[in-house]
């Protein structure tokens, strides 16, 4: 069976439409009014970019939408994307005090979208004030969230910044990789425009190391930021991976962001190998594009999945299927995939998944999506910059507070450093690197604008998520433990 498009233009548009629409005015007002306007709020502590959340929500409540959006973008230039793609349940919303009052947390993400959408709609430039150039130049490799976060911050500090992007359009995975029903590419494109409005120059279709040598950047610029993200999807190393109908998840998702939706090819019976958030995005989009059956195949059990629980719920709601404790042995077919030979797995007392002898079976599929995580680019970059240091997992090493690598003029952030996290982390790391560069090149620390909702904190604005981000689930357990151990008073 041939992999081809499955649904009409209208059907796909509907199926792939945003799962959470923008709030209407009344909804936004009701939700904004619910926020307590905490002082030194925990939600800020859980935002990696340290957005003044009560500050922007208060402004929505008073109808000051442009001011609200400005508060957001001041801390996070990708605030519009983050509003849609952040795992808010484990970030800001997971920290909201309302949870302790047995109430639903404030829908911070949706309010953030409401404010940034208003700015976008009105076509207002959030940062009209021209910054005096400080005479320094910085080059940035890649135009993903990390570089955009860094470039925006640098531009606002007076640097001449140039972003080099090998792809045709700037934005990185935020432009080509986010599940379509969470965010259409137009949002990422608008954000790039905001960054351009700050005076940042973009050179697309320009690969560093190929079109422009790395040495040239080091020679021509005062500092360089590496925000090249991760590489291709891992291979499984089983027979048949080269057959027609086998695609990398990132490639498949990229089609969705570059072709008209109704022309995106998808199989009748689609297998997705892997079980992280990318796998969930792939299986859900395959289903929405019209696959009759879309199945995740994972060698471990439900409880071992690395995908967020609500992502898993979404896939189940969309009618996707899950084959747990199962692994592929061989991809079958002549030229085109016709199925997968699979084997049952069992998890032993040592936690290792081993084959169940004699349990092999075959399932028919006409499309196989590989979602096994992305490769690091360590070997490539070690060639381009031999002095760079990488850890054993292939992650670029740098000082987490400043983003500075083992080469003093070279800074880094984003997936290349973290090994793959979220958009918001990449932006925050880019911002930190900008501050690191500013300290190096101008000898000045950057004390971000004092947030209105922490103004007057005698001990200083400690605990901002930007300086010391917290993630909620990891903390919940610790908190409970502590609470049991001692009572306050």
């Amino acid at each position: 069976m041939q992999v081809k498009t499955k649904r009409s233009k209208q059907e796909v548009a509907e199926a792939m439409g945003e799962i959470e629409p923008c709030y209407r005015k009344q909804e936004a007002k009701v939700e904004a009014d619910r926020c307590l306007y905490c002082f030194d709020a925990p939600c800020i502590m859980a935002c990696p970019t340290g957005i003044d959340i009560p500050g922007f929500i208060k402004k929505i409540a008073t109808g000051n939408l442009i001011g609200s959006a400005r508060v957001i973008l001041e801390s996070n230039i990708l605030g519009a994307s983050c509003a849609r793609v952040c795992p808010t349940q484990v970030l800001c919303e997971g920290a909201c005090v309302m949870l302790d009052r047995d109430e639903k947390p404030i829908k911070i993400g949706r309010l953030q979208r409401y404010a940034t959408d208003a700015l976008w709609e009105k076509g207002v430039n959030p940062f009209p004030k021209k910054v005096k150039p400080n005479g320094k130049k910085v080059a940035l490799v890649g135009s993903g969230p990390a570089s955009l976060g860094c470039a925006a911050e640098l531009a606002r500090l007076g640097y001449a910044t140039t972003v080099f992007e090998k792809d045709a359009e700037p934005g990185g995975l935020n432009r080509y990789g986010i599940a379509y029903y969470k965010m259409p590419p137009a949002v990422a494109q608008q954000e790039v425009k905001w960054v351009k409005d700050l005076g940042v120059e973009f050179r697309t279709n320009t690969e560093i190391g190929k079109d422009v040598p790395m040495e040239k950047l080091l020679a021509d610029y005062d500092a360089v930021f590496l925000g090249m993200g991760l590489g291709r999807t891992h291979r499984l190393g089983i027979p048949g991976e080269d057959k027609a109908g086998v695609v990398e998840a990132l490639e498949f998702i990229r089609w969705i962001h570059t072709k008209p939706l109704h022309e995106v090819p998808v199989g009748e019976r689609v297998a997705v190998l892997g079980c992280g958030n990318t796998a969930i995005d792939a299986v859900t989009q395959a289903k929405r594009l019209g696959a009759k059956e879309a199945v995740i195949i994972y060698r471990r059990g439900e409880g071992d999945m690395t995908a967020y629980p609500y992502e898993y719920e979404l896939a189940k709601k969309d009618g996707c299927n899950f084959l747990f404790h199962t692994a592929p042995v061989e991809i079958l077919g002549e030229k085109q995939v016709t199925g997968i030979r699979l084997i049952r797995k069992q998890v032993g007392a040592d936690g290792k998944a081993t084959n169940v002898a004699g349990s092999e079976f075959t399932e028919p599929f006409d499309m196989v999506i590989m979602a096994l995580g992305q490769e690091k680019q360590a070997s490539l970059w070690q060639k381009l910059l031999p002095k760079l240091k990488f850890d054993s997992a292939g992650r670029l090493e740098c000082n987490p507070a400043t983003g500075q690598t083992s080469m003093p003029k070279v800074f880094a952030g984003g997936d290349a450093v973290s090994g793959g996290r979220e958009v918001v982390n990449a932006v925050a790391e880019g911002k930190k690197a900008a501050h690191g560069m500013h300290a190096l090149l101008c000898g000045k620390p950057v004390n971000g604008p004092i947030q209105a909702s922490r103004l007057g904190h005698r001990d200083g604005a400690k605990g901002s998520g930007f300086l010391r981000p917290v993630r909620v689930p990891e903390l919940e357990a610790a908190y409970k433990k502590e609470r049991n151990a001692k009572s306050h008073g």
Binding site: D33, A61, G463
Partner: protein, 436 residues
């Protein structure tokens, strides 16, 4: 089941809940609906020479999604003819003989007052209420609050009324005065049987920033309106208590202003009202709200072991005294219940910026986990030595019973300002040092 019936200046009603003279009391139809719902009495929409109203008449103060926290109107008295109004009162009284039905009146000359009183008597109304409170429109024509603000004029007019009727007479007071006991005393002097208060307060609720004209908007203009609803309750309670404690007033009081439920009503009664009247809450939710009022007041009285609503009357009046009698040695401080605290730090910032810098945000370093679920999250801690017991933090805390104010016992004898001044003067004690 407690007895809710009241005798207000000789007017009997099965419960103390009356519909105030206002739009809900405009027609026989509404009167039937009100009594069907259970209201104990109704003061008919003020009757006088029919007026002409403008279009666009109300505006409101909304706070954080709560509609009509305060309500403003520029309506005048009844726009229906005097004949129609009295005809309908007659009809209603016939159908509801056991409910209190009061005719609210407003007119100008002695002759006109006498004629209105004759019609009221003929209609079978249980009493009359003299509207000396309407603060807009009617006062420009020398009626309403123009009378209520001038005790001498009011005394004269009440005198005309008293000489011409045997019906119980209630004088409705305007709050737009500096001392409400002055018109109340005038009513008493002239022989009135009762007072009712408050009528509406002069107001402008909002300015439309596009038209640069307040609401309610009438062809490019607005006017000073009358304010009522939940936001005016504290003002009304203050005035009711002032009249209740004044021996020179000594009249039964019908409490009005911002009453929305049984609790509000109970507070008015505890501060000296015999019954209460309601307008805005009905305009907001309809007559059905009386069901909970009756039920709730009943349960409350039962829980306090009171047999009748009359047992509640005035119980709180004497607890409000002059400032100079308060004990300067009494001390309370704030206490945080950390099991309830959600870590919003609103108490901290309120005390820090708005009160006495008596709450510390305990530094996250070394503090470990705190409320608000995040490790390292700063938590509020009362500096007991600094706390002056102002209550502010407990008022801003969004969690019920999380910050409580607790008494700090001390071994000093009570000392009022008055005593303090005498003892200072006689050299019996040293001055209390000023705060630094």
């Amino acid at each position: 089941m407690a007895d809710l019936s009241v005798n207000f200046a000789g007017i009997h009603s099965p419960n103390p809940f009356w519909v105030a003279s206002a739009p809900p009391a405009n027609t026989a139809y509404q009167c039937h609906r009100a009594f069907e719902a259970g209201w104990g009495g109704l003061v008919w929409k003020t009757i006088g020479d029919p007026i002409v109203n403008v279009s666009s008449r109300y505006s409101s103060l909304d706070i954080a999604g709560n509609r009509m926290v305060g309500f403003n109107n520029i309506e005048l008295i009844s726009d229906r003819s005097i004949e129609t109004n009295f005809k309908e009162i007659k009809e209603c009284k016939k159908r509801w003989p056991n409910r209190a039905l009061i005719a609210s009146l407003m007119t100008d000359t002695k002759e006109n007052w006498h004629e209105m009183l004759a019609r009221a008597l003929d209609s079978g109304a249980d009493g009359v209420e003299l509207n000396f409170g309407c603060p807009h429109g009617m006062c420009e024509r020398g009626m309403g609050s123009a009378v209520g603000q001038n005790p001498d004029v009011m005394e004269t007019i009440v005198g005309w009324v008293m000489e011409a009727t045997q019906l119980p007479v209630i004088v409705k007071l305007t709050p737009n005065v500096t001392d409400v006991t002055r018109p109340a005393r005038a009513a008493k002097k002239a022989g009135a049987n009762a007072i009712s208060l408050i009528n509406t307060i002069n107001s402008i609720t909002q300015v439309n920033l596009d038209t640069m004209c307040p609401e309610p908007y009438v062809a490019g203009r607005s006017t000073h309106g009358g304010y009522c609803g939940p936001a005016v309750k504290p003002i009304a309670l203050n005035m009711v208590q002032s009249c209740a404690i004044d021996p020179e007033v000594g009249l039964p009081i019908s409490g009005i202003g911002g009453i929305s439920n049984w609790k509000d009503a109970a507070e008015f009664i505890a501060l000296g009202s015999t019954n209460v009247q309601v307008c805005t809450a009905i305009m907001h939710y309809g007559f059905r709200i009386v069901e909970d009022m009756i039920d709730g007041l009943n349960d409350f009285l039962d829980s306090k072991g009171m047999k009748s609503v009359n047992d509640l009357r005035g119980l709180a009046v004497q607890s409000v005294q002059k400032w100079e009698t308060l004990d300067l040695h009494y001390q309370r401080i704030a206490k945080i219940d950390y099991d309830k605290c959600i870590g919003c730090n609103l108490c901290y910032i309120a005390c820090e910026d708005g009160a006495h810098q008596a709450i510390a945000l305990v530094s996250p370093n070394g503090q470990g986990l705190g409320p608000g679920r995040l490790p390292g999250k700063a938590i509020p801690q009362i500096k007991e030595k600094e706390c002056v017991g102002c209550n502010l933090c407990s008022l801003v805390c969004p969690v019920e019973q999380c910050i409580t104010m607790v008494d700090v016992p001390n071994d000093q004898n009570p000392l009022s300002w008055k005593e303090y001044q005498t003892r200072l003067a006689s050299g019996k004690m040293k001055a209390i040092p000023a705060h630094d």
